[in-house]
Symmetry: C2
Subunit: 148 residues, 2 copies
Amino acid sequence: MPYADMDKLAEAECDTVQLGDKLRDAGLRPTRQRLSLAHLLFSKGNRHVSAEALHEEAIIARIPVSLATVYNTLHQFNEAGLLRAVAVESSKTYFDTNTSDHHHFFIEEENRVVDVPASHITVSDLPEPPQGMEVARVDVIVRLRAKS
Amino acid sequence: MPYADMDKLAEAECDTVQLGDKLRDAGLRPTRQRLSLAHLLFSKGNRHVSAEALHEEAIIARIPVSLATVYNTLHQFNEAGLLRAVAVESSKTYFDTNTSDHHHFFIEEENRVVDVPASHITVSDLPEPPQGMEVARVDVIVRLRAKS
DNA sequence: ATTTGTGCAAATCGTTTGCATCTGA
DNA sequence: TCAGATGCAAACGATTTGCACAAAT
């Protein structure tokens, strides 16, 4: 049972308490793996991760967590508003730790998502939604390629 | 060998010749299944189809074509610029027969993609792309939900 | 005749689920 | 204690691929 290692890792972190509160506020029990994943996600500035990538990171950080739990956790965080799922291409889902209103660059060759600085991009002249519908969100993806 | 049926279907179509030229111009051999799928796609105004949906349509229209060929054909059409793949959510890919510059509504509850009238939506104040990159395309997805 | 496309079934990839076990309050 | 969380492996849906066969030029 390697949970002892995890405890050491988790306790060593100065922001464990705040993360615990963050999770509790979101109605999620601050379990070891949720705390560890939250730490990976939120203590390094804005990130755009896939489930697979986060799982690998966790394994490397010697955090024993299964891929299924990573998926569960990402979706729970997403629903709790701690993360935002970004749909850039049909295959992988990316999760953005920046939940504020902003848009994205997508670099196709590298499969990489980057935030567009918040102040930029204005969408105007939006059409009326069809009958009985309202706008939930407007997503802008600026697709980039290497300059020719 | 039910190919005889297909010939009848294909020959009966008044636009088979034009479609053939369209395919040839795109560098694609005008095979029976490509002609048939092109006919389903391009003779009914603008459409947003998934591979699965187009395959079902083909089967109903008694066009013998495999799902694998539908996928191949859609991707070939996409690369040839006859179609445009639209990434709305991570799971299914939608192909839009409207290749002109325009944006999309996405109705989450129904998993349906609709064109935004071309004249609408202006994106301004686009930021500079990172070093050595240029903008390939800007996609705007207006996500809709039922009005509360 | 040669090249290119097609069908099928099996493989793959990302993701989800069922269920037995474990853990946090 | 005991609802809720986790791990594992199996299930899953969308898509791709390998290869023998068929059709187009």
